[in-house]
């Protein structure tokens, strides 16, 4: 049992099922909020009356996937925080991929 505990110490669970082109649609302007929600689903957080949406992304061997809200995990396993800023008409104005735990 002790050997098993020692062998398992420091293990990190990884996830699969990401897409290398998950954010490619952001480069095809114009992009509206509905398109973002269709591609990425519900955001992790929203600000400025939903004018700013953020998504936590995990990266696994070049593939990105959205990590759903799980308050028990904090930033563990998160690679990027995607920030999307929309105008009053819901069109994407600016976005940035903020590196997490760089």
């Amino acid at each position: 049992m002790l050997l098993l505990q020692v062998a398992l110490a420091g293990c990190v669970t990884t996830t699969s099922g990401g897409k290398p082109d998950l954010l490619a649609f952001l480069e095809r302007e114009p992009v509206d909020k509905f398109e973002v929600l269709a591609h990425l689903g519900e955001p992790n957080e929203a600000f400025e009356v939903d004018r700013v949406l953020t998504y936590r992304l995990t990266s696994d061997r070049g593939s990105l996937s959205v990590r759903r809200n799980d308050k028990t995990k904090g930033w563990e396993g998160v690679s990027y925080d995607l920030v999307l800023v929309f105008d009053a008409n819901g069109s994407l104005q600016r976005h940035n991929l903020v590196a997490v735990r760089p």
């Binding site: 420091g10 600000f47 904090g74 920030v83 600016r94 940035n96 997490v100 760089p102």
Partner: protein, 159 residues
């Protein structure tokens, strides 16, 4: 909760500082007196609920009276803590070191450790127009047996 790898472990008596080494020696002596035991010490590892180190460099990216709330979000991402009306954001980081030992029992074992945590928290306040009105980098040290107590809250719950 922290993520640690075996390669992060350093073996006594190599400590980061004097207090660290003293605690390690105490743990080693306790181990020796109890028989089968592996003493251990870890360097200051970034806690799993921290996105990255919050430093003065982070603080300097924000300009009072000029940077907007949206600019802050674009630069730093979603905050760790926020006011109900987004009047303030907090961005925090914590690094924790542990010194202790793993005591062998008949069929299993128990770990005992002293935990030391360094917390940095950036408190960003906004005016009624959503412009940064103040930026304050707050720091604290906290420690305890098995868990650090009295640490500055990354989410700013006491604000």
């Amino acid at each position: 909760m922290r993520t640690a790898r075996c390669s992060d472990t350093i073996w006594l008596p190599y400590g980061r500082n004097r207090r660290f080494a003293s605690a390690g020696i105490a743990a080693a002596l306790l181990c020796l007196s109890l028989g089968g035991c592996i003493p251990f010490a870890t360097p200051h590892l970034l806690d799993s609920d921290s996105r990255g180190d919050v430093t003065t460099a982070t603080q300097q990216r924000l300009e009072v009276g000029k940077t907007t709330r949206v600019d802050v979000l674009l630069a730093l991402g979603a905050p760790d803590g926020r006011a109900a009306d987004d009047d303030w954001f907090t961005y925090g980081s914590a690094r924790t070191s542990e010194v202790g030992g793993f005591l062998f029992l008949l069929v299993d074992g128990i770990g005992v450790e002293h935990v030391n945590t360094h917390v940095s928290r950036l408190l960003v306040k906004f005016d009624s127009n959503g412009i940064v009105s103040s930026v304050e980098l707050q720091q604290s040290e906290c420690s305890g047996f098995m868990a650090a107590h009295g640490c500055l809250d990354l989410k700013g719950k006491e604000l």
